[in-house]
């Protein structure tokens, strides 16, 4: 079933392989969501799975996030391993009650008698001109909630690997998939097998500054690091991968090496994940800092539709480079 390592595939295909593997290896697993069956998923992740696994396991639902996420919670408590797809994080707000008040709480409120081994996949982020109601990055709202696990694979390997530990987890896991990455191609390596729900990864090593990021911004940071290297600044790039819990140890270890941090977060700045990461760095690494912490976030507007405005609202390579230079003390 699985594709061997070394193959070049898309992020979408990596995700699909993972779902297919889960369906094939565990009869308790089923997929549920809007247009996941006949249409093949609004981002075509589940395309072809209906023919392969049938209607019992690939279930199209009515347009009611609250109802099908609630059904997923019930199925998980009853012993199934549901994979619920929500089209975008914006629409997940219709199911926020089920996620925050039911899925996240049941294990705690029942004193551990019930678990909710539910996996919810949803697209997130901007960059495809889908306008404000389909383009936001609200990961931090869910990362705020105890009882949930929140992950955001940014690489082919993580997209391929993260579903397995998510399904094995007794708690509800939210998998955020940056919609701008679905067409990204990359090589599948053995690293897919090491995906987990709690650790960050250093994607590029450097000694001068740490870029902490996640999701689609990882690739902007990698491009920025490349550009900075040409100017003699070696940036280390940390991919958070898990947004709840945050891997403080990896972040702080990097900060101790570089003493400077810029956090790149596609969410809005006010009350966002970047603020949380920055505060943890201050709490645990104040005396290691050699410059004020920098943040590059989305502009505080609903993500605009026109291409040039959408681009202007998102963290860009240029803004990241500028923020790093400011941190390094270079005159602007």
């Amino acid at each position: 079933m699985t594709t061997g390592t070394g193959t070049v595939i898309t992020y979408r295909e990596a995700m699909k392989q993972a779902i297919r593997e889960a369906l094939a290896s565990d009869p308790r697993v089923f997929v549920m969501g809007e247009d996941v069956g006949k249409y093949g998923g609004c981002y075509a992740v589940t395309k072809g799975l209906l023919d392969e696994f049938g209607e019992e396991r690939i279930r199209d639902t009515p347009l009611s996030e609250s109802a099908f996420v609630g059904a997923g919670v019930g199925a998980a408590v009853a012993g199934m391993r549901p994979i619920v797809e929500i089209m975008t994080v914006n629409f997940s707000l219709l199911a926020a009650d089920q996620i925050v008040n039911s899925a996240a709480t049941l294990s705690h409120m029942s004193g551990g008698q019930f678990h909710v081994p539910l996996v919810i996949r949803m697209a997130t982020g901007a960059g495809r001109q889908l306008a404000a109601q389909h383009s936001h990055s609200l990961e931090c709202w869910y990362a705020h909630v105890p009882g949930l696990r929140v992950v955001e694979p940014a690489t082919i390997d993580d997209a391929r690997g993260v579903l397995r530990p998510a399904l094995a987890c007794p708690d509800p896991v939210l998998i955020f998939e940056p919609n701008s990455l679905y067409n990204m191609e990359g090589e599948l390596t053995g690293a897919a097998a090491t995906a987990d729900l709690s650790t960050a990864r250093v994607r590029r090593e450097g000694k001068d500054v740490t870029l902490v990021t996640y999701g689609a911004s990882l690739w902007r940071c990698m491009a920025a690091a490349e550009q900075l290297a040409a100017g003699g600044v070696e940036a280390e790039v940390v991919d958070l991968r898990s947004l709840r819990p945050l891997d403080d140890a990896t972040i702080l270890a990097s900060v101790r090496r570089t003493r400077r941090v810029v956090i790149v977060d596609e969410g809005w700045r006010t009350g966002g994940l970047a603020a949380e990461v920055a505060m943890r760095v201050v709490e645990q690494g104040f005396y290691d800092l050699d410059a004020p912490i920098g943040r590059v976030c989305s502009e505080e507007v609903p993500i605009p539709y026109p291409k040039h405005l959408e681009d202007a609202a998102l963290p860009s390579v240029e803004r990241i480079v500028t923020a790093v230079r400011r941190t390094m003390g270079d005159a602007e």
């Binding site: 003493r259 005396y287 290691d288 800092l289 941190t327 390094m328 003390g329």
Partner: protein, 390 residues
Amino acid sequence: MLSEFRMPALGADMEEGTVVQWNVAPGDTVKRGQVVAVVETDKGAIDVEIFEDGVVREIVVQPGTKVAVGTVLARLEAAASAGAAAPASVVHEDARSSVAASRPSAVNPEASAEALEATAPPVRAKVSPAARVRARELGVDVATLTGTGPGGAITVEDVEKAGVTPRRELPGGMRDAIAAAMSRSKREIPHYYLSLATDVTVASDWLVARNASVPVDERVIFAALLIKAVALACRELEGFSGFYREGRFEESPSVHVGVAVALRGGGLVAPAIMDAADKALPALMEDFRQLVMRARAGRLRASELAAPTIILTSLGDSAVDAVFPIIQPPQVAIVGAGAVGMRPWVVDGQVVPRQVISLSLGADHRVTDGRLGAQFLARIASKLAAPETL
């Protein structure tokens, strides 16, 4: 009103100096005592402090320029200058006059308060947390650094640069400067010399016992006892701590004991331990230690070099019996100390081995005579006989 910050005279024979570096820029708020520039002189690169609070308005002399003593280097808006027609305070040859000149005028306190209000509030120096930690580890004074971080903040790199390359080239002119000062001294000052061998067994035993009972970083070396003893003797007898200028002697109200520090590359500096008579021994020792370290790293401050009212030169580590020291003008006395060593000594008619040191005095005959000089040496000896009072 603007006041002028001039090239200070960092010793009697300094005629010119080169501005090596400015630590401040126009618009910066400066505080009295802050190191604002580094000046290269015959005595090495010296950190020069400003003796006035205010805001820098103009840098007149750019780095790399050699100018005569007294040349205006920068202009500043003095915080307390309203109504005061006094010239800008500069570092004078002796600390006393510079201290006097820098006291804010109390003539018109209201105007002063107004002027203070008009001045920007003092800005805390920007030093990154990591740089502060590193500076403490390396013993680097961040006030002497120029930051390269965001907003001119001092970074770890700035500290490490200062910490690992404190070595500044020994100026070729130092030998000439010493020659000039000593020649002038021998030409102008009618020296007389006295020496006194004294039993310091009590002090030396006391020190050994004391050092055995305190942590290693609180240990005191014998030279510190000498400094304190000299300072206390100056308090009790007039005519040894002060300056001889324009035909008359002025006793200094504070006793700043200069300690002669030999530099390994050759040469000698004698920075002062300020108010040595008023300092408890542990504090004096710490100052002494810092001073020697900074002298050897070439990081002395202008005020420390200009301040001594009397100098102690101890050659105790060189195993010589005695020193016949030459006064550094415009001072009027210098105390020498040889090595402390076991000598046959007569106590109550018996010859016994005792720890003995030979103290000597070079003094200005225009100011004091041998009789007073003898009393002065005896006072030092008696202070050493009661080390617990030092």
